[in-house]
């Protein structure tokens, strides 16, 4: 932890004493850690340990779950996103999300990407064209779809669909990008394309990614957090976590996975 702390000069996402309850279940337990700007932070841990739930705290998607309740604070760029009077819509624009299963809207590729900007009132065709192009380029999809922008997004392959979802998420120019196991439904080739993409994305966004795949975390992330039963067991630079984990449970999890 110490080593990480010294690296942070202005953390983008600060999580302070965060508790999450679903009804009476305490799903996240006093989480405390910071994600620095322009980094990829990976979240690993056995399923059901609260990784997705944590991610959904960062853009307040848990608001939709009845009975969900948050205690503690999450600061994004120094602003407490659970303070009263926070504009959740504006927050979700700043904190984009990519889901586990590719979920393009049943509309054209163009309209998928333009969805967010249109919501915020962009009507000018040229501006939209430019946003669509740059977002698709940012998601490394432009060359494959530039001649068929008006065909349904659902007609693309799984890996392309997921990159379309990434383009859609970055079209609103978020500062933070949340990704919940974005490659778990994809083939190895699509997976490696998206991993490559994530490494590029961090120059523009802070990325928080949940992954089931330890090697993936090691390949793409700068920081790694290991969750167990709603607790943050260990958080540090990825190289430290994977080479000299401090906590015995981290070591067991990492080594156990690879024999």
């Amino acid at each position: 932890m110490d080593k990480t702390e010294s690296d942070l000069d202005l953390p983008q996402v600060r999580t302070q004493n965060l508790d999450l309850y679903y009804g009476a279940d305490r799903v996240l337990r006093s989480l405390n850690f910071d994600i620095p700007r322009g980094c990829v932070a990976a979240f690993i841990g056995p399923s059901g340990c609260g990784k997705s739930s944590y991610l959904r705290c960062l853009n307040r998607m848990n608001d939709f779950i009845s009975g969900a309740r948050v205690e503690g604070r999450v600061l994004i760029d120094g602003e407490d996103i659970y303070a009263s009077g926070v504009d959740v819509i504006a927050l979700r624009r700043r904190v984009g999300m990519v889901f586990q299963k590719p979920n393009p809207f049943p509309m054209s590729i163009y309209e998928n990407v333009a969805y967010g900007p249109r919501l915020f009132g962009v009507k000018d065709r040229e501006t939209l064209d430019e946003t669509v192009r740059s977002s698709l380029e940012g998601a490394a999809l432009w060359n494959e779809v530039k001649d068929k922008l008006n065909t349904p997004g659902t007609g693309l392959s799984g890996g392309q669909q997921q990159r379309l979802c990434i383009a859609r998420a970055i079209a609103t120019e978020p500062e933070v990008l949340l990704m919940d196991e974005p490659t778990s439904a994809l083939d190895p080739l699509s997976t490696s394309r998206i991993e490559e993409l994530i490494r590029d994305l961090k120059s523009r966004f802070t990325v928080a990614i949940v992954t089931h795949n330890m090697q993936q975390a090691a390949r793409i992330s700068d920081y790694t957090a290991f969750f167990l039963l709603g607790e943050l067991v260990e958080y540090g630079t990825t190289s430290q976590i994977f080479t000299v984990p401090v906590d015995k449970r981290t070591e067991d999890y990492i080594t156990g996975r690879f024999g």
């Binding site: 979700r92 999300m97 049943p106 919501l119 349904p152 007609g155 998420a169």
Partner: protein, 308 residues
């Protein structure tokens, strides 16, 4: 049919391939029977309606303005009947479909779960009301009100019948559209919310467009119901075989014409055959709506294709 197949499928878990085979066989025989019945009806209608062409011409039948089937020689112009049917169908859809869709959006998207579980069964119950109840409602409640309110000669007219038919559509179209909306995957809504959409924006821009094929075929089912409805037309539409000039003119659609006159005409007369011809026209109209709905459904599957 759906139920029976569902049962067979569950048994297949216990008995290996048997259930599947039984299901396939059941589906095959049921659809064969359906097609046979359909073919038989069509054959019968055509056979009984064709002789009318000996008495008059096809264009006179379809576009003739005068329907005096009891005179000698009978005037068998059905245009007023066809126009009445189409006008009532159109007007009742204009009333019933928007209401149905608003109700579906409410139950599927806005109402809290408790309220939904209260409203939906009520809606479905309304769908089981025999149409004669609506007919009574038209005669006893709507007609006198219309007559007094708009100072009309009669309250039994196109507006009355259309309002009732619109009401009758709501349970079917509403609950089918509700199901279409509910079938829109959670993930699409999540994606929309995560992009900063409000609930209303999500409904309008993602949920409704995604559910459109289902909502459209639900609507067409409602339209068909309106075209084919007889009892309400008989009781509340007024029954004048003229082309309606205003909302408050009495009308005489194909259905009520057949129902009212079939019993009073000698079998084998020109009038008798003309009524069968009216039935044939009705069948063709509903068939056309059916084909349209199948086409829309196929198109919906195609655009969703990649995701399923």
């Amino acid at each position: 049919m759906g139920l029976r197949m569902g049962k067979s499928e569950t048994t297949s878990h216990h008995f290996g391939g048997w259930g599947d085979k039984a299901a396939a066989r059941t589906a095959f025989s049921v659809s064969t029977i359906c097609i046979l019945i359909m073919g038989f009806i069509l054959y019968f209608l055509v056979k009984e309606s064709l002789p009318v062409l000996k008495a008059t011409t096809l264009s006179e039948l379809l576009f003739g303005m005068d329907w005096y089937p009891q005179e000698t020689p009978p005037a068998l112009g059905m245009f007023p009947l066809i126009a009445s049917s189409l006008a009532v169908t159109f007007l009742s859809s204009a009333i019933g479909l928007p209401v149905s869709i608003v109700i579906a959006v409410f139950t599927a998207e806005i109402a809290p779960r408790r309220l939904r579980s209260l409203v939906k069964p009520l809606l479905e119950l309304l769908g089981f009301l025999p149409s004669i109840v609506f007919g009574f409602l038209g005669m006893v409640v709507v007609a006198p009100w219309l007559q007094a309110r708009f100072n009309l000669l009669t309250g039994l007219n196109m507006a009355n019948a259309s309002a009732l038919l619109g009401m009758m559509m709501v349970p079917i179209v509403g609950s089918l559209a509700d199901e279409a909306l509910c079938a829109v995957p959670r993930e699409l809504r999540d994606a929309s919310y995560a992009l900063g959409a409000t609930r209303w924006e999500t409904i309008r821009r993602v949920v409704l467009p995604s559910a459109l094929p289902g909502v459209l075929s639900a609507s067409l089912l409602g339209v068909m119901r309106a075209t084919g409805e007889t009892m309400v037309m008989l009781m509340a539409a007024g029954g004048a075989a003229v082309i309606p000039q205003s909302l408050f003119d009495p009308v005489r659609p194909l259905t009520s014409t057949i129902a009212a006159e079939m019993g009073e005409t000698p079998v084998g007369s020109e009038h008798y055959h003309a009524l069968f011809f009216a039935g044939l026209i009705l069948l063709l109209i509903t068939l056309a709506i059916n084909l349209l709905s199948a086409k829309i459904e196929a198109k919906g599957l195609k655009t969703k294709g990649g995701n399923l």
